[in-house]
């Protein structure tokens, strides 16, 4: 995986060409390389000039940077919620627990530009008055957890994190914490529980982390890409970042493109770029086949049929207007070889497996959703199954502590809404509308065994 293309990049700007070429060619992540690209200039300046934290937050607000993890909440506003003057411990936490199907951008950020994340976190800590931070890294990307630890060691060695940074009197300790296989820990309060050494089960909100976070102390949690965007904003000004995108949707964003495209990978493009342009960057649909549907913001966001997404630009507001969410910027492309029932079955299986079990509607409901979709897919659907699905999904939505319940329900509701005929065909004819061998060919996994029942 790699960053395969960019339009006016910010997060991947100045990375050496070979870093963009693909797997294995990832030079340029070390401290010396980052410093050579102007890295740590923002942190050094703030510390030297003793910039008031309020001014830092004002700059972030002006950039209209919105949380890159999925919710799109304005970062500057989040930082302003921290009770900075309150004595005692405060924490800054980075969420690199990337496990939402379709999302793989933070993996590349840690791989290619870990010091941008470290600098962003240090600036965040300074702005909110925290002296300790953690980056929670998805357990499955172990090699990059190790890389981040190496980058931390470099920063510590250079005095850019730790006690009394560059003689400024500001201290900030930063550590990496790894996950070990639980999607739910990407939810911010589950993540905090996990750092505390517990099961990753989300907490009731309120209280929000800004008042009761890690170890019960005020805490700010942001996504990896959010932190990586901070140094640019402090260097070039909030307005420059805002202008890189469009009003109310500041900056560029990494989009992870997966599924039926010729060049799956990450692309950094300005918010507001038409979807059609991103599809073009990703080499178009595999084999030039007809586009069927796109999930624009990670598996939890509602699916959009081809005609709608082809007319949509990629920013928070436009995608919301089209009936979905920008989410984490994970664009899952499905062409005409896709069986939508089977696609939904895969998603339902995921949410059932990953429900933490705390809330009954989610724990039981995700199981029901999977069972019913599974039986439709396997030719055992019943006439009233679509009604059952809608009913169960509706009973999960809004009735759980965290958003995983909604995340499980939304794909079901949107798939059934937009591709109802395909579900009905399955129930009536006990088979896919798209023949199995066509689906097989579409996946691009060629083998002489030709096990079409796979």
């Amino acid at each position: 995986m790699a960053i395969l293309g960019a339009i006016q990049p910010i997060l991947t700007a100045g990375l050496r060409g070979d870093a963009l070429q693909g797997y294995g060619a990832d030079a340029g992540w070390r401290l010396a390389d980052y410093a050579g690209r102007g890295g740590y200039a923002a942190l050094k300046r703030i510390l030297a000039e003793k910039t008031p934290p309020e001014a830092v937050i004002a700059e972030i607000k002006a950039s209209v940077l919105r949380g890159r993890g999925g919710a799109g909440f304005p970062t500057g506003l989040k930082w302003s919620f921290m009770p900075r003057s309150l004595p005692g411990d405060k924490y800054v936490v980075c969420n690199t627990d990337e496990g939402e199907p379709g999302t793989f951008k933070d993996r590349d950020l840690i791989r290619l530009n870990p010091h941008a994340v470290i600098e962003g976190m240090a600036i965040g800590a300074y702005a909110i008055g925290a002296n300790r931070g953690y980056n929670y890294i998805h357990g499955e990307i172990w090699e990059l957890y190790k890389r981040f630890e190496e980058a931390l060691a470099e920063a510590r060695q250079a005095g850019l994190i730790g006690e009394n940074i560059l003689g400024s009197g500001f201290s900030f300790e930063l550590f990496a914490h790894h996950g070990y296989g639980a999607y739910i820990c990407g939810e911010e309060t589950a993540l905090l529980e996990s750092i505390e050494g517990k099961k990753g089960q989300p907490r009731f909100k309120p209280p929000f982390p800004a008042s009761f976070g890690l170890y019960g102390k005020p805490t700010t949690i942001n996504n990896t890409e959010t932190f990586a965007s901070i140094p640019f904003i402090l260097n070039m000004g909030g307005e420059a970042f805002l202008n890189a995108g469009k009003p109310n949707n500041g900056g560029t964003k990494l989009f992870s493109v997966s599924g039926h495209v010729n060049r799956p990978g990450n692309y950094e493009i300005p918010l507001g770029t038409p979807f059609a342009r991103l599809l073009e960057l990703a080499g178009g649909t595999r084999g030039g086949r007809k586009l069927k549907a796109v999930i624009p913001g990670g598996s939890s966001s509602p699916v959009l049929p081809a005609d709608i997404i082809m007319d949509t630009t990629l920013d928070y507001d436009s995608i919301a207007k089209a009936g979905s969410m920008l989410g984490s910027g994970a664009v899952i492309v499905m062409d005409e070889t896709t069986c939508m029932v089977r696609a939904l079955e895969r998603l339902a299986y995921f949410y059932h497996e990953e429900s933490c079990g705390q809330c009954t509607p989610c724990r039981e409901g995700t199981g029901w959703l999977h069972d019913v979709i599974h039986r439709i897919e396997h030719g055992e659907g019943r006439p009233d199954d679509l009604e059952t699905l809608t009913h169960v999904a509706g009973n999960i939505s809004g009735r759980t502590i965290c958003a995983l319940g909604d995340a499980a329900a939304m794909p079901v509701q949107s798939f059934v809404k937009h591709f109802r005929d395909e579900f009905l065909h399955h129930i009536e004819h006990k088979t896919c509308l798209v023949p199995k061998d066509v689906q097989w060919a579409g996946s691009g996994f060629h083998t002489i065994t030709q096990q079409v029942s796979a």
Partner: protein, 186 residues
């Protein structure tokens, strides 16, 4: 579950007097000095009084030493951190990369989530099942391979992906590359 008390360190493992000796956690269950040193490094990441935060890392390290995570290892980690055994057990059972049963020397986790499935993830899993002659969640009779179905590894652009022994991510796994990888496993 019985609670375990830590026994004093055994002094046998240290040949030159510099290496940290292994520790017997009771009933002959030992963890190496090297692992314990790594435990301490993890514990040091957290504020005083928050040793419990290191439980995930310590369980992973214990699993790394033993090859899987027997109950005694979970209890040893709990004893080392000074937390109730059930607290460590809850963590070990919640996160799915901990192996609470013995696994083969090579644990292969293949992702079959939607984005991966669109690019051959399910077919790769099927191919591996045929090739190894086992189903998902099973281990070959010679104890060499365990095959598991994984949930999003955050590498969907590289599908099909295979995670080897929780540590190494293998990308773009065509049948040819799968064959090569399996041949490379000793």
């Amino acid at each position: 579950m019985t609670t375990m008390k830590e026994k004093p360190m055994t002094q046998t493992a240290s040949a030159n007097g510099l290496e940290r000796p292994e520790r017997d956690f009771g009933e002959g269950f030992c963890l190496s000095g090297e692992t314990l040193q790594k435990f301490d490094r993890e514990i040091a990441k957290y504020p005083e009084g928050q040793r419990r935060s290191a439980v995930m890392a310590c369980l992973a390290l214990a699993q790394e030493e033993i090859g899987w995570l027997p109950r005694k290892a979970v209890e040893a980690v709990a004893a080392y951190l000074g937390i109730p055994p059930i607290a460590a057990w809850e963590v070990a059972t919640f996160y799915n990369m901990y192996d609470l049963e013995p696994v083969g020397r090579h644990k292969l986790t293949v992702c079959t989530g939607l984005p991966c499935a669109l690019s051959g993830g399910v077919h790769a899993a099927k191919y591996l099942q045929e090739k190894l002659g086992i189903g998902l969640g099973e281990t070959t009779p010679d104890g060499k391979f365990t095959l598991l179905e994984g949930e999003c590894m955050g590498a969907c652009g590289d599908a099909p992906v295979l995670l080897m022994n929780n540590r190494r991510m293998c990308s773009f796994m065509t049948p040819e590359k799968i064959d090569q990888s399996l041949e490379g496993c000793k």
